[in-house]
Symmetry: C2
Subunit: 372 residues, 2 copies
């Protein structure tokens, strides 16, 4: 996040966050570093064992949140007295003490889903009258409703990833005879050349490896006559891209072509379902029922998607269990997959952003299974 | 960790871990990914929001631990039936259910210090008769007693970092007129060229930035006649290096030279104190009392050191509060610092490993403040 973001942006975000906390019946919030803390303060905490925390309460109504930082990192924090007070803790003290002073001493406090256990347990002992609730459970992600500018940033990042995917699909990235890791390095370079600021991840999974959804590119050499799955993304101006396509290194067998037809239909069905007012579970079920109806239900072994923004994976998650409504400003992936362990697998992924009239795709490279 | 590590290594580690759990009076263990899980299984879990867990119990005595993985990552796990059973959980289920079945249903369970709050709270609700205790609090780090082979690996990594530090001290890395970030990039390349497999971090802090211990290298151009602090490390064969030295770009003012004398004496005092049988707090106090005695106590704003191994920061921590005894096989940094906010700062850091007759230094580049 640019450090010159005006205070007004953070004050607005804290105002909306307060409203959101209040709507859950909670009395305060505690974030232990990470993207939510950066979203509310502009400060990127170091992800080490010394906790940086953001603590705020609803009462009194004009109470200002505190940014609680390790003493040795205090010099890295930009003072923004209108937004937060700064409090530092030293290595000879327990940070739980500093934190406990800045949250309500009774009632409910929403905490980061990934706050460390040592701090959770420490706070439970120190503030026995406070109930700690993971924020994702209480109210989803703080950052899940994006502004129109954020949605445009996601679309722009998506178009950069599409450019690289078009190079793969167009045969500009040579595959047969190279190892997965060589191809992944090549793609990393292309993601940066296309304009991304960072490469977030690159999956290249060939032949039987394509049946492992989170395959780590390795020393396997790509052969002729097999499927190769590409799933990659980077970030641009702080927002992430993430897209998946498969190609075939030779003539496509009928069986593979048939299964791909089912996959593409499932993805399309889920995108059509992604509209304000429907639930996230309905999107998952739209994809799942097409794949299940064709007899491959047991081969679709993951959720349909995940939210995306300043992190590659964030709220809202598109799962069978998430009955939360889809809202304007949501941004998430739609990425069904069909996998045959030990043989091959395939996945098709676009990021969509939700607008008043439905889902807008941020990825628009060719959605067919191309022969390269 | 190489995937060809024999099962015997993991069986031995689990045996020692069981003894350690038993010695705290606890009944089971739950690790949520990370280096401890890799240490006990050889499996490097993906650090994403889907939990990978290692769960084990002491009773019955022959009970085998479970490696609990997201279904879509199950294909990445190498089966080791003599070491652990594999259990997968799907995106349409709550992983807390799968985990709860693999831990004791009453008594005390040690959990990773950094287990996510959503899983801690989920387990507390699901298994109300179990008390969860952060493992660091109960028994320090699982990996904190290193084998002689591990200590040698740390010494080897240290010597690679020393090679780069000698280049800095010898004037081979040009400083004046370049930005911190340019110099940091240069050093990253040299860390790899020296033989590291990865670069873990590079701090280059010049002039007033040296007063910020965790300064992130930026666009500041190094000038003549100022201090420049270098703190960097990488990993080699899975073990990390970490060392800090300062240089001066021109004649060294008397005041700076004097303060550096105090710093070097404090570091030496702490290294001499680092012997089996003494406590970690005594090492911290040895450095702190030299610096405090010279009148700079308020300018030493962090702990004296941190453990190191497969992670740059791990147990044991060398703080005023840690009264645990120093043991043969410990490995940690000794890195006092003296900082004058807005002006300049300095730090001197070596990794030491503890052997029967005291501390062996893994870093041996020149410990003086050199003019470059």
């Amino acid at each position: 996040m640019p450090t010159d973001t005006p205070n007004e942006v953070f004050l607005q975000r804290w105002k909306r966050t307060r409203e959101r906390i209040a709507s859950t019946g909670a009395h305060g919030i505690l974030l232990g570093g990470g993207s939510d803390l950066a979203y509310l303060t502009g400060y990127e905490a170091m992800p080490l064992e010394r906790i940086t925390a953001f603590a705020g309460k609803l009462s009194p109504p004009d109470s200002k949140p505190a940014l609680i930082v390790p003493a040795l990192e205090a010099a890295r924090v930009r003072p923004r007295p209108s937004v937060y007070s700064i409090k530092s803790w030293g290595d000879s003290t327990d940070p739980v003490e500093a934190i406990a002073e800045e949250i309500p001493d009774s009632g409910t406090v929403l905490i980061s889903d990934d706050l460390w256990a040592m701090h959770v347990i420490g706070l439970q002992r120190r503030t026995p009258h406070v109930t700690l609730i993971p924020i994702g459970e209480a109210t989803g992600g703080l950052r899940e409703i994006k502004s129109p500018a954020e949605l445009d940033a996601l679309a722009e990042a998506g178009s950069l990833a599409d450019r690289v995917m078009a190079q793969v699909q167009g045969g500009e990235v040579s595959l047969v005879g190279r190892t997965e890791v060589e191809i992944a390095d090549d793609i990393s370079g292309r993601l940066l050349a296309a304009g991304h600021d960072t490469v977030e991840f690159v999956i290249v999974a060939s032949g039987p490896n394509s049946a492992s959804p989170h395959h780590h590119p390795g020393s396997r050499v790509v052969k002729a006559g097999e499927i190769v799955l590409f799933d990659f993304g980077g970030s641009f101006n702080g927002y992430c891209s993430d897209t998946t396509r498969c190609v075939y290194t030779g003539p496509i067998p009928d069986e593979v072509r048939f299964v791909y037809t089912i996959l593409a239909a499932a993805q399309e069905a889920a995108v059509l379902e992604a509209q304000p007012g429907r639930s996230l579970a309905e999107v998952d079920l739209a994809a799942r029922s097409v794949i299940g109806g064709a007899g491959f239900g047991d081969n679709f072994i993951h959720r349909t998607g995940h939210g995306i923004g300043v992190e590659v994976h964030e709220h809202p998650y598109v799962t069978k269990l998430n009955n939360d409504p889809i809202e304007i400003g949501h941004a998430f992936s739609i990425e069904p997959g069909i996998y045959f362990p030990g043989k091959w697998g395939m996945r098709l992924e676009d990021i969509v952003v939700i607008e008043a009239d439905g889902a807008r795709r941020c990825n628009n490279s060719d959605r067919s299974l191309l022969e390269v």
